[in-house]
Amino acid sequence: MTAVVLDGIVLGLQFGLLGVGMTLVYGLGGVLNLAYGQAAVLAAMVVAVALTAGAPALVAAGAGLLTAAAGGVVLDRTLMLPVYHQRGEHRVLLGLLLTLGVAFVVDGLLLWRYPTGALRLTIGGEAVPILGVRMRAGSLWASGISLAVGAILLLFFRATTLGRAARSVIQDEVGARLVGINPAAVRTFIFALSGALAGLVAVTRSMTSPVGVTAGFDFTILALIVAVVGGLGSVAGAFLAGVLLGIVSTVSAFYIGQYITTIVLLAAAALTIVMRPRGLLGR
């Protein structure tokens, strides 16, 4: 049981980061980015290609994250522009349709170019016993990176001018403009950050299990569930929800079966919407 929960935390920390990228873009742009998972896969493929070409692991990972971030910026500055001219329901719907289109296009292109593409990072090193459970080096690295990035993000949003500016746009866009913040610039930055986070999760995920070229929609669905359960727009909420859902996921996989986990996670999201529509830490 301890092993299952620990595995859940390893998975959950990554779920958390994945959810943060989704929840931020929703909070700032009013867009649920259905092409989010494709950013993760795009990064994974770039890393895989760079590694095959002989690049050092850190350089390859950096290239992957940068590519995913650039993808976010391009999306924000081109296809999303008509979305920002819409308000309310229209904005959400147009955003969903456009990003879904992007998702299919990117999925198709990647599958065509790398039909059997997959990223698997092997992390050397001995397994380390934690609470009597032997944890693989890959799991520890993935968790350490996720925790560190999560802590940096929380600090960034609490204590830096740019981080506060991003939160202010989420809370009151008019108020943000009144104090001299350009919401469009902040939004572009958040799209880049979101892409980089998706890429990062693909990289840490590949330390414990391969990330295949068709994993895009799985990432998107997970991110959506985490963001909804955590409360759309809440960074801390996404982390909390990520860890909880990670544990739920491994526990149900262990006691019920792998095939049922996505259903359990969706049920958790549905239950959250019914019991607490704003999510765990939503405003």
């Binding site: 009151d172 008019v174 104090v179």
Partner: protein
């Protein structure tokens, strides 16, 4: 300092204010008075770049700022406090004030200035803005605007939702600000309060300037007395 000439603006292709001329000299306090729906808010939104201008020009400190986006107008030193305040409800009083100085770090004296004017805000420094009372929220909105050390402070109906006593103390604070040399432009329905602080005033009716003049002259004007001061 601020000069609007022939300014028209509105919504969905229809002008709400038309051909408005407004001038505010440095160090002056100027009131725009008018009833509900006269176009005060539309005028203010157009002046500070929150609303596109359909005709006319706005000059601030000798520079043409017509059509500049609101965040750039704010950075140029024109601070606007809307009636709805638009605070950041989930952030503390302190964080709201910090953001007021965006994109710079606030200079230390800025906090002192705001807390001297509104000691209440210092007591509530760590409290969430959304949990403040109406009067405190108004103080915070003005305080946030002051953090950037603006050269012109524009307030739209600062007494919205405030009890008479709080409304009076809001104007007392504006009087103090004026005493420090701050240039003020205030839109107000509560005409006696507005004229108590203002040096000059404009009467806005149906989106046009109906009258303008020194506050004392406006107070004596029979039309103003009948329509806005409740004197028969």
């Amino acid at each position: 300092m601020l000069e609007a000439s022939g300014l028209s603006a509105g919504y969905l292709g229809e002008n709400v204010v038309e051909g408005v001329d407004v001038q505010v000299a440095a160090g002056q306090a100027v009131a725009v008075i008018g009833s509900n729906g006269a176009g005060k808010t539309t005028l203010f939104r157009a002046l500070c770049g929150m609303l596109p201008v359909t005709a006319g020009r706005v000059r601030f400190d000798g520079e043409d700022i017509t059509g500049r986006p609101a965040h750039r107008v704010a950075r140029a030193g024109l601070a606007y406090v809307p009636a709805e305040r638009h605070l950041f409800p989930g952030m503390s009083v302190r964080e709201n004030l910090l953001l007021g100085a965006y994109p710079r770090r606030p200079d230390p004296s800025a906090f002192g200035l705001v807390f001297d004017l509104f000691p209440r805000l210092e007591e509530r420094r760590q409290q969430r803005a959304g949990s403040l009372s109406g009067g405190e929220q108004q103080m915070l909105a003005v305080g946030r605007a002051l953090m950037s050390r603006p050269r012109l402070l524009m307030l739209d109906e600062p007494t919205t939702g405030l009890a008479p006593k709080l409304a009076r103390s809001a104007y007392e604070a504006l009087g103090v600000l004026k005493g420090t040399g701050m240039t003020l432009l205030v839109a107000e329905q509560q005409v006696p309060l507005a004229l108590s602080v203002a040096d000059r005033g404009y009467v806005l009716e149906n989106g046009r300037i109906r009258l303008e003049g020194a506050s004392e002259d406006l107070e004596r004007n029979p039309e103003v007395r009948r329509a806005y001061l409740g004197v028969a």
